[in-house]
């Protein structure tokens, strides 16, 4: 228990948070990497997933490729790209995107697919264009699953962003690995607790967002 107290002491000391290598900067980097990776992934995966869900085309390829990339060990991808691209942010970014794209893609196409076909037919029968059907009917009705994919991707990336420090980038992995190297368990533990809190808080925010959206009429 002493180590927990030491860790909490370290986390709760203002000095640990300030300065160029402080927890504040590291937590900011951690969030920035995560949002950047999820944002870039969503830019590609959301339109692709909506297209697949709407047209049913390319579904087989999407299912197989998401399955394959899910089995990929992230640490392997990070270290492999780091050997090619050098240390820094490139390698972890590539790995995060590889990790995030399948979740967002799967959420997007299953969200659109889950919409009752009769509703889609009714929308089409009313004379809605394919674009109106997608944006006005399928996306709002499938929003819960679509957001679920983004939520899962965010969680995965926030968790994995710790590994960015292993190949020389920043983030909360920095103090974690520093503690590991210096046999400073309190520092490792403190950094771990901050990562866990960050992940749990982000997930709770998503849960709240999903709940608020579900209350709006016309979405499910």
């Amino acid at each position: 228990m002493t180590s927990l107290l030491e860790a909490l002491d370290w986390v709760l000391t203002a000095d640990s948070w300030t300065g160029p290598g402080g927890l504040g900067v590291r937590a900011g980097e951690h969030l920035l990497y995560s949002l950047l990776a999820v944002g870039l992934s969503a830019l590609v995966a959301l339109p692709a997933g909506l297209f697949i869900g709407h047209t049913g085309r390319g579904r087989g390829i999407a299912v197989v490729s998401t399955g394959v990339t899910r089995a990929l060990p992230t640490l392997g991808v990070i270290t492999l790209v780091a050997l090619a691209a050098g240390i820094g942010l490139t390698a972890p970014m590539v790995a995060f995107i590889v990790l995030a794209v399948p979740s967002i893609l799967a959420g997007a196409y299953s969200g659109v697919e889950a919409v009752d076909p009769q509703i889609v037919d009714a929308a089409r029968a009313q004379g809605m264009s394919p674009r109106q059907v997608l944006l006005g009917v399928e996306v709002p009705l499938g929003l819960r699953l679509i957001l679920g994919g983004v939520r899962l991707a965010t969680l995965q990336v926030v968790a994995t962003a710790t590994l960015a420090a292993y190949v020389g980038a920043g983030g909360l992995g920095r103090p974690l690995f520093l503690g590991l190297r210096n046999h400073d368990y309190a520092m490792m533990l403190g950094a771990s607790i901050v990562v866990i809190l960050l992940a749990v808080v982000l997930d709770a925010l998503f849960a709240l967002g999903q709940r608020l959206l579900a209350r709006r009429p016309g979405t499910a």
Binding site: P73, P117, A159, V195
Partner: protein, 232 residues
Amino acid sequence: MTAVQWILENLPQILELTVDHLLLTVPAVLAAFLLALPLGRLAVRLPRLREPLVGGIGLLYAIPSLPLFIVLPLILGTSIREPLNAVAALTLFGLALMVRSAADAFGSVEEDVRLAAVAVGHSAAGRFLTVELPLAGPALLAGLRVVSVSTISLVSVSAVLGITSLGSLFTDGFERGIVASIVAGIVMTAVLALVLDLLLVALGRVLMPWRRPAPRRAGSREPAQVGERGAA
């Protein structure tokens, strides 16, 4: 030296690491499965407990793996580099996925069937083992397959803490600049996941011989679904 040469020369070591990887994976997957069965059944028996149980344990999955490896010694008194610590963490992640599958699987057993089993005189234990478990089997197997694949890919992360597994091929390869080592690690992880998955499917066929894939018949699809989604 080409990648193939490196892999051939280091084959004994790679196989050894594969065994280490399995020694972390198999106990964790097994423990998660066995723990999830009573919890999943309980969630069906007491619907009020379902959300706290399934949702609560499911929350574990939101905890990043590397930090959990580090926090767990605090609770278990293990050391970070101990394989037991890794197995415990992996079991928790497996459990987070498996409890939901188990609750869904037991929940899919029809109430009429359960009542019929009571009526013909099964004891509670007999009903669980000979009626509910076989009927929930296919869904349980599906959950187990997901847990097995995700555990295999999670194990590698523990290598940064110094626990040997196929993940050590990533850390060694990165530190010494050997691409072949990392490639070998990725390939072996995928092979291991595939082999374990096939074994589970085969095991399912043996234990549940009544679950032969149904032969495909022409016109078996609901007419309403044919060709409608692709029209736009």
